[in-house]
């Protein structure tokens, strides 16, 4: 199994310390394109697509492996192993935040810091916990995925492309970013929105930053606060940006927040070294 091909791993940047960016649900590594240039000079930038998204190897999809976020966390660890990465700064958006947390719990020595953009340990309300959704809401999303044209056309694309009598149908489809395999997207939606990783939070030993948007339906403020309370060594920063993708809607603010977090740490580290 070629891990780098499976996850369409791309590497750039002039620095030494690796920054591993993991895209969230519904998109692919393209969603980092406004963020990564700001880190190119000082870090090694590693991007990848989860299996079933972007240009990953869809044939590597396996329902058993990917029926929990742990399978995706394994992929992250395998990428680290394949590239021999250590001291990794993991930047995860949305569900990939939790994937990063799970990976760092399993192999704490590989990771330096985690940046969690719009994280949520559980999306569905449970007793006093307000995740923001009910389980019926998630059925609504699955329906939406089912009926959606973006998904529909990717589902039909192989049929259409494979029809030699109608070559005019084989042209590139217009919505060319964030291509997802509709069946896998549905599985991933289930895995994502039905996951409950609240019990894992206290196990994280790596330092983390929670980037919380001001108005985020997917990960509301209460969830960000819950994360902050339960992640042992975490900082939280509330962004002015609204929505669920500050990396796209407010890249500058997002970059500044990440830089501040990383620099503070570096300053602190060098002080410690001086003392010793």
């Amino acid at each position: 199994m070629d891990v780098l091909k499976r996850n369409n791993v791309t590497i750039s940047g002039k620095g030494k310390q690796p920054m591993l960016f993991a895209h969230g649900y519904g998109c692919d590594q393209n969603m980092w394109r406004l963020i990564t240039p700001a880190f190119e000079n000082d870090y090694q930038i590693i991007l990848f697509d989860h299996v079933g998204f972007g240009k990953s190897d869809i044939t590597a999809y396996n329902q058993t492996r990917y029926n929990s976020l742990k399978g995706y966390a394994e992929d992250v660890l395998e990428i680290c192993q394949e590239l021999d990465l250590t001291n990794v700064i993991f930047v995860g958006h949305s569900v990939s935040s939790m994937i990063g947390v799970l990976a760092a719990i399993k192999e704490p020595t590989l990771f330096d810091k985690l940046v969690l953009v719009g994280p949520s340990p559980r999306y569905i309300n449970d007793g006093n916990y307000e995740g923001g959704f009910s389980s019926e809401d998630i059925d609504g999303l699955l329906e939406s995925l089912d009926s959606n044209y973006l998904g529909w056309s990717s589902a039909m694309a192989p049929v259409i492309m494979g029809n030699p009598n109608r070559p005019e149908l084989g042209e590139e489809l217009t919505n060319s970013f964030c291509r997802t395999n509709p069946e896998i997207a549905k599985d991933f939606a289930r895995v994502t929105f039905l996951s409950d990783n609240r019990a894992d939070l206290s196990k994280l030993k790596t330092k983390s930053l929670i980037l919380q948007c001001s108005e985020d339906v997917i990960a509301p403020m209460s969830v960000g606060e819950y994360m902050h309370q339960h992640l042992p060594d975490s900082e939280m920063m509330v962004l002015e940006a609204t929505g669920h993708c500050p990396n796209l809607s407010a890249p500058e603010e997002t970059i500044q927040a990440i830089k501040k977090f990383l620099q503070n740490q570096t300053l602190f580290m060098s002080k410690v070294e001086e003392v010793s």
């Binding site: 999303l141 009926s147 044209y149 919505n175 997802t180 997917i218 796209l248 809607s249």
Partner: protein, 658 residues
């Protein structure tokens, strides 16, 4: 006349009353302009929406998630998004299915300032779509049901057919008269044909129901092709045909692919070629078409000098139940399913069988398969070497089969082969018998009332003694193997023989799994792994002593008791850690555990525990260690810890009495 005003007014009118909805949104989704058409569809007053509502607030919650996770990122990345399907909620919360297209307007600095959105009402289209989807699902379901029906029926047909073929094979061995021999041969041939037909129909229905998947296993293409050729040697000789095999030297020895299905295609093409060729030659060729670092495209060709296929029928022969000419069937027999199945198998590889042929001059069938290269680390169990000539007399075998006719047929062969066998008519009886006698092999019918073959196998595998985990259990079933692989693995079946079985196949599998050679091989493997021989730890006598503990006279009763209790607790912890660290291959933790146990081991003189720790260390140095053996070691460790704890408890009880 000045039309400017009229035009301007009518532009406004066009905007407001266009047959589609128009929206202008701020980057955060706030609606700053909306046309009358859309307001009308949704039942809102302009004031209720303008600068008040955001676009995403018009969406039901599932749509909101989709908006945030798919639509918004897409729009921000490419500056537009086309034909995204949403349901918009009207004032009465009634969903309106729409297609939404949006473009981004940017200021001079390239910052998005406004989104312009067009909304198409697709209520009707949605209804059609749902009907289509519904029809598609229903059709798929029907195909599924059909496939299941065919599978059940063919199973029902195969069971009596099993008896017919089996008995006619047996009759052939009873020195029949020449006319009886003739009848028997016809009986045999007809039943064989019937079986082939049923197999073909089953294959076809499976492929149609999308229930066939390609396996990716290592195989040797040279061996596969020469094996197929060899099996047709006799037939070709009878007809006086030259059989040739040409394999490119550039073809790697080991490839990854579904050798069973590739073999099925080649067998079919070769069988046809021989069938339709009266003189001349038949050739199988495999050539490298192109090669990459990790894969190779192989061109397979089966060429003959036979009757050929008229051009107008060359496309048709791949369809079900059609043959080269309308009188082909009368002359040559066959069903016309083979090519259709072969074509479908090849299409699973994303390729196609092509035909070049001229009437009376011969035919060439070719196809290209892209196959990954393999390393050649084949495991022993994958390789069933034909061992038909090896004697299996004296093998102790348990036959688990509920159908008396099948029992009768199989029995005749067992007697012939000198097998010492027992019969169990049900799963429960099988377990009973297995507990009473030691068998070399179990032949297990899968479909039995009550406890079926899978359950029974599962049961046997879970018996506490290790030998039951190594006992070969071969499934005997009328279902095709395609269906079974997964279930076979999970229940612990070793291998599979189809029903009706070919006597040679059954013989060679029994020989393979019970052969002395294989046992010797296994022993050799064991010797190679000097690290640890599982046999040495199974049922080992406990080795420890409480003398030192008892001798500690300076300890008061209470302290001795406390010490014993601590050791009991420790043992419990060691048990867990021993298993966990070994299973997770955490070597450092395992070694640490060894240190930690040192005191207890010394105190108890627990030599077995010490040995197990040392074996564990060696195992962790060996990257590829068998999981089954690790489990044996863990079991042995647990057993020993249990014995020690029990002895300590007994000691505690004695102390209590004092």
């Amino acid at each position: 006349m000045d039309y400017t005003e009229v035009i301007e007014e009518s532009a406004e009118d066009l905007y407001e009353h266009a047959p589609c909805g128009y929206l202008s949104l701020l980057p955060n989704g706030t609606i700053v302009k909306i046309n009358h058409t859309l307001l009308n569809w949704l039942g809102f007053e302009r004031a209720e929406v303008l600068n008040v509502k955001k676009f995403q607030e018009l969406l039901p919650i599932g749509g909101k998630i989709f908006y945030e996770t798919h639509y918004a990122p897409l729009l921000k990345m490419q500056g537009f998004a086309n034909e995204i399907n949403f349901d918009l909620l009207s004032k009465e919360r009634i969903p309106l299915p729409v297609l939404v297209s949006t473009t981004q307007l940017k200021d001079e600095a390239g910052k998005p300032i406004l989104y312009r959105t067009t909304v198409f009402n697709i209520t009707d289209r949605k209804k059609y779509e749902q009907e289509l989807l519904h029809a598609k699902r229903k059709a798929e379901e029907a195909t599924q049901i059909k496939a299941e029906f065919i599978s059940t029926i063919s199973h029902e047909i195969r069971t009596p057919l099993n008896a017919i073929i089996g008995i006619s094979d047996l009759l052939l061995k009873t020195h029949p008269t020449s006319s009886q021999l003739e009848y028997l041969n016809i009986l045999k041939q007809s039943s064989d044909n019937l079986l082939n037909l049923i197999n073909d129909i089953l294959d076809l229905s499976k492929i149609e129901a999308n229930r066939v998947t390609l396996e990716e296993k290592e195989f040797n293409l040279r061996d596969l092709l020469s094996g197929i050729l060899y099996s047709y040697n006799l037939k070709a000789e009878e007809k006086g045909l030259a059989l040739q095999l040409q394999i490119d030297e550039g073809i790697p020895d080991f490839l990854l692919g579904d050798s069973v299905k590739i073999g099925q295609v080649i067998t079919n093409l070769l069988g046809n070629a021989i069938k339709f060729t009266e003189k001349g030659s038949v050739t199988i060729a495999a050539q490298v078409k192109s090669t990459k670092q990790d894969a190779v495209a192989v061109l397979f060709k089966v060429t003959d000098t036979g009757i050929g296929i008229p051009e107008e029928r060359q496309e048709l022969i791949f369809e079900e139940f059609t043959q080269g000419t309308s009188d082909t069937h009368a002359k040559y027999g066959g069903t016309g399913l083979g090519l259709s199945i072969s074509q479908k198998i090849v299409s699973l590889y994303g390729s196609k069988i092509k035909v070049k042929s001229e009437s009376g001059k011969g035919s060439e069938f070719n196809f290209i398969l892209k196959l990954k290269k393999a390393t050649g680390n084949k495991t022993v169990s994958d390789e069933i070497v034909i061992q038909a000539d090896e004697s299996i007399a004296g093998v102790k075998l348990l036959l688990v089969e509920d159908n008396p006719i099948n029992v009768f047929v199989v029995e005749q062969y067992f007697k012939d082969w000198g097998i010492e066998y027992e019969v169990a008519e049900s799963g429960l009886k099988a377990i009973e018998k297995i507990n009473q006698h030691d068998f070399d092999l179990v032949l297990m019918d899968l479909q039995m009332p009550g406890m079926d073959g899978y359950d029974t196998t599962h049961w046997i595998r879970n018996l506490p003694e290790i030998k039951y985990q190594q006992l070969p259990i071969i499934a005997l079933s009328a279902s095709a193997k395609y269906d079974l692989v997964e279930k076979m693995e999970s229940s612990g079946l070793t291998d599979f023989v189809g029903k009706p079985f070919k006597p040679e196949e059954l013989h060679s599998k029994i020989a393979f799994y019970t052969s002395k050679k294989r046992r010797a091989l296994r022993d050799k493997e064991k010797l190679k792994l000097t690290i640890f021989d599982p046999a040495t730890v199974i049922n080992k006598q406990p080795a420890f002593s409480l003398n030192r503990l008892q001798e500690m006279k300076d300890l008061s009763n209470r302290e001795a008791r406390k010490l014993a209790e601590i050791i009991i607790d420790n043992l419990e912890e060691y048990k867990n850690k021993f298993a966990a660290t070994l299973n997770d291959k955490r070597k450092a933790d395992f070694i640490f555990l060894g240190h930690k146990m040192r005191v207890d081991i010394d105190l108890l003189d627990a030599t077995n525990l010490l040995e197990y720790i040392n074996i564990g260390k060696r195992i962790l140095d060996e990257p590829e260690y068998s999981k089954a053996d690790v489990n044996i070691l863990i079991q042995a460790f647990n057993q020993e810890a249990k014995s020690i704890a029990a002895a300590l408890r007994e000691e505690l009880a004695k102390l209590e009495l004092k």
